[in-house]
Amino acid sequence: MKFMLMMHTPAGTGEYQINQWKPEEFRAHIQFMKDLNQDLREAGELVGAEGLAPPGQARLVQVRGDGSPEVTDGPFAESKEFLAGYWLVDVENAERAYAIAGKASTAPGPGGKPLGIKIEVRQVMGAPPDTL
């Protein structure tokens, strides 16, 4: 079963707060993510994972009446949180996806304390379930 694990962080200035952290805190955070991805890769569960550039750089693209796309820097739906990155995993069951998300949520922040990042877990739509 494939799941997308979406990492939500609080919206702020449009820049990542991580840039304000001390270098060692930053490194610990990045190392945590690298280790997590390596574990998933070795378990044969990782399909893909990416971190996204901060929302200040986001652009909105929408097709216009004449069929040409229009690129603007907003307006975005008002929200307190935004997507900072995601994992796509292929795992045995939903419980395993929750466990991975739980682990990702403990990524360290300032002072080495777990951030408690919110991770939204969504099953990827696919083939019908395993019933004949």
Partner: protein, 412 residues
Amino acid sequence: MKTIDERLLRELAPQVLGAVVRRYGDFGAAEDAVQEALTAAALQWPEGGVPENPRAWLIQVAARKLTDQIRSESARRRRETKIVLETAPEENVVPPPDQAPVEQDDALVLLFMCCHPALTRPTAIALTLRAVGGLTTGEIANAFLVPESTMAQRISRAKQSIKSSAVGFVLPPPDERNESIGAVLHVLYLIFNEGYATSSGKNHQRVDLSSEAIRLARAAHELLPDNGEVSGLLALMILTDARRPARSGPNGEIVPLDEQDRSLWDQKAIAEGVQLVSDALSRGAVGSYLLQAAIAALHDEATRPEDTDWPQIVALYGVLMRLSDNPMVALNHAVAVAMAHGLDKGLALLERLDRDPRIKDHYRLAAVRAHLLERSGKITSALVFYEQAAAKTASIPERNYLFLKIARLQAN
């Protein structure tokens, strides 16, 4: 010519691997060597012709590759000594073609090994397809839509688990065999489902997993002809696959059983499946795969939907429910009761499932209820449950089917 070779290679793969593992012990190394031998064969046979004894050719080439590999490793002396000591002298030569081969047992052992209960199911599936099915890692990754590196890791972990759990290259002892054959059948069932569920998909390059599962189940049946569940699973696959030409429309949309053009069903496959079921039943076998196959047979034997022997199907689901407490079986039982004894009776059975936490939120419960309400002429209520079902399913084809259903009902 090329396709014949591929089929031949896939058939030979488990036999060759079995023979090499039995001789050298190291599953991981043997598996790599056999893959190399198969690659060599795929390159050389189309030009030079298939050797007189292809199996012996492959074993010899794999053994040579394995020896090369062992030589080049740093611990070569220790390992070479071990192999020489562990190998009986007569096993160091390929048996002559006229000598009765033991490959069938080897393939069976291999199947048990790959489906070892200690492995997770996705891992066991990957390993079975590679070692027993002879598919490449790339083909398997493609079939499951994951990156090749992910699948490679999965397979290499599987080999590692087999190594560390010290599963010997022997059949499991009789008292463990039941659990093990259960795992083997489940893995084959999952492989079949994976192919069956997505057979209407857009990806034409996908390895046909259903055919592969049927081929492997056929091999298992040849090895264990008296096992009712093996016969049952093979029959279930054949009988389900027989409806394949009719089960999806021109745009890949799902066509439900009662709307399928039954003249498209594969009658030869149905005859084979029915024969398997009746042979197994006449031997007194009863098991969940066999019962499901018997139900599939009853559906397949009905020329028109209204000819379906629903009372018999109700009875079979009743036996299945006693065998295992599976809410999906209870759901199918309710459908059969509705068809045999009246829609109200079926709808009443669904109320019991509303209290079962394992299925109460499942889209199929909502879809079945919608279907039965629609048949009873309660269109407004049916729409509510069709919409619930569409919102709950994680399957794109199922969702499309349900949306289509909703649109049709609203149009009338």
